[in-house]
């Protein structure tokens, strides 16, 4: 599904990613762990197309050159980034935003767009699965949401848009145990043979709930070690120091 070869990215003349290699196949869950400043968020930004980076290397996604695609084209083709800090967008109703987003993606795929009633039905169902208070959806997007509500809203968007490749950028940060469980259940419900996940996290805690197939350690812009889920436990006890 995703093949990354020798990916380099710099911003303001500072190289952040220094030749990163990674392959994700359909149905796999990959976790990327690493200390602050190792390039985790840069990786998620570059994969979703954020402007401002100068990028080189080869990134194939569903046999296309991902780096040639615009931000919204990547979304249309099934890439979803759950933001570490979801933005507050004043004056934009959450429900309208969700419907605009879903229909933009459906339209790009040549599928029939949902009308208001079909959409509300879908959103109700997904919100109740995530134990997400529907009332929040009539409020302005992320405005005045608690940290937990913002993260749940990201997962709700993910479950409505049903992406092929979901990138979770420190979705666990700022979540209490109950919210972490709900978010993890949401992610697990989306796991399938076709959909893949790239989970970026500092801590092993999230990985107790979402069991990864592979764990990679990102230090100083490169993946320095890869392994199975047991690697996360090892990191938790020994720290990153032992690897750098």
């Amino acid at each position: 599904m995703l093949q990354i070869k020798n990916l380099k990215a710099q911003i303001d003349n500072k190289e952040i990613l220094k030749g990163l290699n990674l392959e994700i196949n359909p149905g796999e869950v990959h976790a990327i762990m690493g200390p602050n400043g190792s390039g985790k968020s840069t990786l998620s930004n570059v994969l979703s197309g954020k402007k401002g980076y100068s990028v080189s290397g080869d990134v194939r996604y569903l046999n296309e050159n991902l780096l040639d695609l615009e931000i919204e084209e990547r979304a249309h083709k099934g890439i979803f980034l759950a933001f570490q800090y979801p933005l507050e967008i004043p004056g934009v109703n959450t429900n309208i935003f969700l419907k605009t987003s879903l229909n933009a993606i459906k339209k790009a795929k040549g599928e029939k767009e949902l009308d208001a009633i079909e959409f509300l039905k879908l959103v109700k169902q997904k919100a109740s699965e995530l134990k997400f208070d529907e009332k929040i959806l009539s409020r302005q997007l992320n405005v005045g949401f608690s940290g937990g509500e913002k993260k749940k809203n990201e997962i709700l968007q993910m479950s409505i848009l049903n992406p092929k490749l979901s990138i979770l950028d420190e979705t666990d940060s700022g979540l209490d145990i109950d919210a972490l469980k709900v978010v993890s259940e949401g992610v697990n419900a989306l796991r399938s043979k076709e959909s893949s996940f790239l989970i970026i996290t500092h801590y092993q805690r999230l990985l107790e709930y979402i069991k990864p197939d592979f764990v990679h350690v990102l230090i100083n812009g490169q993946i320095v070690k890869s392994g199975g889920s047991e690697l996360a436990l090892e990191l938790e006890s020994k720290g990153y120091e032992s690897l750098s």
Partner: protein, 414 residues
Amino acid sequence: MIEQLKIDFDKIVGSLELSNENIESRKKNFNQFIESGFPNKRIEDWKFSDLNQIISSNIKNLHFHSDLELSKIDETIFIDKFAHNKIVFLNGIISNIDFNQEDETKVLLTRDLNQNENINEVNPLVSLNNALTASYIRITVKENYSLNRPVIIYNITTKDLKSTALNLKTDIVLEKNSSLKVINLFDDNSENNFINIVQNFDIAQDAILKNYKIDHKINSNIKYCYNNINLKKNSISENFIFSMGSKFIKNEINCNLNDEYSSAFINGILNLTNSQHHEIKTNINHLAENTKSYQLIKSVLNDNAKGIYQGKIYVDSKAQKTNGYQLSKALLLNENTEFDGKPELEIYADDVKCSHGATSGNLDEDAIFYLMSRGLSHQQSKELLINGFLLDAVEKITDIEIKDLIKNMIGITE
């Protein structure tokens, strides 16, 4: 120009049935205008909008008089979303009045120019209007009466308008405990005209005025609109200015909070493209204790547009416990746009709460990235953010029908 104006003055005064007193007052006002001419940027209140220069570079032969020749009203421009009372100014002349939604003993209408009480010595443009107005209406709402439906004043110009300049005048009197919603709606089909509008509002105790201005249809006219509002005890004036159609418009509101517990709200939107140049200028005068004012102006500027907000709050030494607030936020979508904000607070009382704020900037790139990462195009993301930016000003409109009308005109969907 002066020679032409003198000819127009004589023709206009000669064509109307005016009392000697009225003619004398007009002469005085006319001379005041002749002495000062159109305001230019050397005058502090006009430093961002040099009207003299704007008029001379856009209008070749300025003349105010043309022989009456009524055009037909294009009724398709009437708002059909809700029932309303109508006053139609067609090329500066009142051509249609329809108040069949109301009790006619409670809403008095007069067009007698001799009954118009001029507000004098405000500025040269108001003087010019006092001198040359040919068509006028006064609406008086009797004590304890609330109109069933809003009043829409249609200000229409047609392509066959012969003069290059118009003066319109309206007086609105709200007696005790009465209420009125009025919308001034512009529909300009003429080109390169100067339209000078003066409206005077007298709001008695416990009365409520809702005053909305809608200039949404793109046109090449140059407008000045002066509103003078006097508020008595416990009365309210809610004003909203939706400014996006004219080439140039300056909306000036002078509001006197004369008695205790009176309050004024002035909110507005400047939504400009190309080389449009729009200004909102307010003077809020807190002249008694426990008075309140609130102003929120949101501006979105594109291309080479220029937006201006000059908001003044004056607090008299008698006006303790005043609560005054103003905020201006501008989105500059292009580096060729210009926004000038000049907040002024002049406070002579010591127990007051007054604040002001102003911001300007571009759209948040991170917000655009967030929306695009959800599949929205750049254009869709921009529109969503701009509408979101404007929404809180529109939400200040307390009348739901009119709020929805304006939302529709901007393209805000919910």
